[in-house]
């Protein structure tokens, strides 16, 4: 694993995520959200899970980010800027980060050197999905269908 690539991706991801969390303009925040998720997908590529990285790009940048931008455009007449900022959230987030950091550094990890792995091919993922994970796969299909129908019913105009 390349450490220079790791540092570049880490800085990109965390700064874009911080921008998405703090920028006052909604549309800027949505675009930085997309950049942050490109960074997460790059982490997946770096870790050798190429298929998951591709799925991340397709689902998040292709669908979720576009959906968020559409929602911002549809609810535009509301205040364009988000003025309120609750500082107690910063304190809570910093406290949680401190706790997580403490527990990560205190826990002995089982291996800090990445072992050699055989490449995770799409064929192997498909075989695993269709054998060991066939019931979760069906359940996710059901959940996605229900979510699709539910979202449509929610935004449908009420007949008066």
């Amino acid at each position: 694993m390349n450490s220079a690539a790791f540092i570049i991706i880490a800085v990109l991801t965390l700064s874009a995520a911080l921008a998405a969390a703090t920028l006052p303009r909604l549309i800027h925040a949505a675009l930085s959200f997309a950049v942050a998720f490109v960074g997460v997908a790059a982490f997946y590529f770096l870790l050798g899970a190429e298929f998951v990285g591709l799925v991340q790009v397709f689902v998040y940048i292709g669908a979720v980010a576009v959906l968020i931008v559409f929602t911002i455009l549809l609810t535009r007449r509301d205040a364009e800027k988000d003025r309120g900022f609750n500082w107690s959230g910063v304190v809570i987030a910093l406290a949680v980060f401190g706790g997580l950091l403490w527990s990560i550094l205190k826990t002995p990890t089982f291996g800090n050197v990445a072992p050699k792995i055989e490449p995770l091919t799409v064929r192997r993922i498909g075989e695993t999905l269709m054998t060991d994970y066939v019931w979760p796969l069906q359940c996710v299909g059901l959940v996605l269908t229900a979510a699709l129908i539910g979202a449509l019913i929610l935004v449908m105009e009420e007949k008066r």
Binding site: M1, S3, F6, L14, A17, A20, A21, L26, A30, F33, A36, V40, F43, Y44, L46, L47, G48, A49, F51, V52, V55, V59, A63, V64, L67, I68, F70, T75, D78, A79, D82, F85, N86, W87, S88, G89, A93, V96, F97, L100, L101, I104, T109, F110, N112, V113, I117, L120, I125, T128, L129, D132, Y133, V143, A146, A147, G150, A151, L154, V155
Partner: protein, 104 residues
């Protein structure tokens, strides 16, 4: 120096806390959804990192969990944004502070 498992866990914890910050401190409903998506992505990054650093060979469980988590997150985003649009249509606002009709 190559990236270790701890570094990945720290990055993922930072991403989770930025998501928590966005979900807790912003008033706009869309920001809260963005924060929740970030927290889910941080969890997925943790799963992939643990899968990569675990002793090999082993079944790709971490990868499978991450794929399912991405699917659930997409469903959650669709329903959440539909809720935001419905709330905006009825109340003409998307600020979660103004939605206090059920408050006693």
């Amino acid at each position: 120096m190559t990236p270790t498992l701890q570094l990945f866990l720290i990055i993922s914890a930072a991403l989770f806390c930025i998501g928590l910050l966005a979900a807790l401190s912003r008033r706009h409903a869309i920001f809260i959804l963005i924060g929740i998506e970030m927290m889910l992505a941080a969890a997925g990054l943790n799963f992939i990192a643990f899968w990569r650093f675990a002793p090999q060979p082993q079944p790709p469980t971490g990868v499978m969990v991450t794929i399912f988590a991405i699917a659930i997150a997409a469903a959650e985003a669709a329903v959440g944004l539909a809720l935001v649009i419905t709330v905006y249509r009825n109340y003409r606002t998307t600020s979660v502070d103004k939605l206090d009709q059920l408050k006693g």
